[in-house]
């Protein structure tokens, strides 16, 4: 029984000589600018995909007036929102209200620091990259809660509380499903995980992917888990009282988070920048957008869950499945020299189907009513 070899995670050193100060700072400057540009561009593309995709799936057209095919709609929206008046409620906690968008935004920006665009092309190739992501990504909740509290609005506070509850619950299956891939890859660096994916981990860890996708959607509060900003019940939740640039920042955070989760899924499960023919960074972007499209797809399909369904799904469904998945993966990693093989793929897919069937049978809400 041998533990799989650790994949060397500092391949990036060839690209980023850490010689102080010249190379290091150039690397830092270059990737900071690229990442900010990447994030903003991707957010605009994401909003476009979301609005058009949503429209088409609902037999509408979506925005189509501004520029060819409506591509400039987001630019127009940005300009509109920038020019709007910034209204702060009278009884708001001014400082918290002012600080909340920034607190929400910074962690999302930080996530992109460890996501590899191609081999070694990332701001900081942390050897604990995924741990860093797990640690940082949930900080956004703090900003959201500050917004809910600072607005002095009961709907905002309700939304923020729901968000905290959801994130705290879903953090656990999210992290546990990541651990499965970490075991298989044998490294925590995202670049290392990508390099380890000779078979994309979506096949090796199908259940992990499913759990991560669901928990990720819940974590960033996308439909069907968008309880915190449920427009129809608590009028946009935590950002009810926000307008102008602060609202734009929250909007940006929402989509940047979605892109970040898509990028993490791409790196963890879809082979990141690896792929034939196209340049690696393009593969990465294409895969990210595909994952984002699947998010839009689920959003348009599934109705919003209730808060008890949300909690039940996290604690009764995802958490046990994540634990079992982790257990099975650990055994596989111990049993096989290389856990990334086709037998593992078959075994894990069968395991996933069986587990989902069994657990759907177990999954009950309320007084024994079966509502999945």
């Amino acid at each position: 029984m041998t533990v799989p070899e650790l994949v060397i995670s500092n391949v990036s050193m060839a690209y980023t000589p850490p010689d102080w100060p010249g190379g290091y700072w150039w690397h830092w400057l270059f990737f900071s600018v690229v990442l900010i540009g990447f994030m903003l561009t991707m957010v605009i593309i994401a909003i476009y995909i979301e609005r058009r995709g949503l429209g088409r799936m609902q037999s509408r057209l979506g925005p189509n007036r501004t520029g060819p095919f409506g591509v400039l709609q987001m630019v127009a929206d940005v300009i509109k929102v920038l020019l709007k008046e910034n209204i702060v409620p009278d009884k708001a906690d001014k400082l918290v209200h002012w600080l909340a968008p920034i607190v929400a935004f910074v962690p999302v920006a930080l996530i992109f620091a460890v996501i590899p665009f191609q081999n070694g092309a990332l701001l900081a190739d942390l050897n604990i990259g995924i741990l860093f992501i797990v640690a940082v990504s949930s900080l956004t909740t703090l900003g959201v809660f500050m917004a809910g509290w600072g607005s002095s609005n009961k709907y905002s506070l309700l939304g923020a509380m729901r968000n905290v509850a959801a994130v705290v619950s879903y953090e656990i299956p999210l992290a546990l499903s990541i651990v499965g891939t970490l075991l298989v890859a044998g490294t925590m660096s995202l670049n290392g995980i990508v390099i380890a994916q000779d078979i994309p981990f979506i096949l090796v860890q199908p259940l992990g992917f499913l759990i991560f996708f669901i928990a990720g959607c819940a974590e960033i509060n996308r439909s069907p888990f968008d309880l915190m900003e449920a427009d129809s019940e608590i009028v946009a939740g935590f950002h009810t009282e926000y307008s102008g640039m602060k609202f734009a920042l929250f909007y940006l955070v929402e989509y940047a988070e979605a892109i970040a989760i898509s990028a993490i899924i791409t790196s963890l499960f879809l082979g990141g920048w690896r792929g034939p023919l196209l340049p690696p960074w393009l593969w990465f972007i294409v895969k990210t957008l595909i994952v984002f499209f699947v998010m839009v797809w689920t959003r348009v399909t599934l109705p919003r869950v209730r808060i008890d369904q949300l909690m039940a799904l996290a604690w009764k469904f995802l958490l046990p499945l994540a634990l079992i998945n982790l257990f099975i993966t650990a055994i596989q990693v111990l049993a096989w020299d290389n856990a990334v093989n086709w037998i593992a793929v078959v075994v894990n897919i069968v395991v996933m189907v069986v587990l989902i069937l069994i657990w759907s049978k177990f999954f009950k809400l309320g007084w024994g009513r079966l509502e999945v």
Partner: protein, 166 residues
């Protein structure tokens, strides 16, 4: 074993949405594209014929909204009424078509117009010559099957929504 409870229902829903994505959208883009109007449509404008109108004011009496105002003068020589003023406040009109049905001399018709929104109430009022039939304001076939028969066969559906492109 009903698989709908094991996640299959979700997949079914997702297949429905993705199929809708590749269908033609069912909306039309209003100012550029308009739905066909039924040839027996009750529009928001009345078409009035000065020749046939005898000034009997039956239309004004039937109008549940009192939107029609008609002032006549007696022409003693020809022994008949002369219409001095025929005025319809389209702001009050509920497009019920009772005036058209009531007119004993077939002097009133519904129109096809549905764009009567104005900035001021006064502009909603139409009177006398504005009410006459013209190529821009054809008479609808409502309550007048003879008119409807002459109009071409039509479908109320638009065959295919195409996206307006700049």
């Amino acid at each position: 074993m009903k698989f709908e409870r094991y996640g299959l229902g979700m997949l079914k829903g997702m297949s429905v949405t993705i199929r809708h994505m590749f269908r033609h959208p069912t909306v039309n883009q209003y100012p550029e594209q308009r739905l066909n109007i039924s040839r027996r449509n009750r529009g928001n404008e009345l078409i009035w014929s000065r020749e046939r109108c005898t000034g009997c004011a039956t239309c004004a009496k039937t109008c549940p909204q009192g939107a029609i105002e008609i002032i006549t003068a007696t022409n003693a020589e020809d022994n008949k009424y002369e219409v001095e003023k025929y005025q319809v406040d389209t702001g009050y009109c509920i497009q019920c078509g009772l005036c058209v049905e009531a007119c004993p001399y077939d002097a009133l018709f519904m129109g096809y117009s549905y764009e009567r929104a104005r900035y001021r109430r006064g502009e909603l009022v139409q009177s006398d010559d504005e009410l006459l039939e013209s190529p821009e304001r054809p008479a609808s076939g409502y309550f007048h099957p003879d008119i409807a028969e002459k109009l071409p066969e039509q479908t109320l559906l638009i065959d295919k929504i195409t996206e307006k492109r700049e």
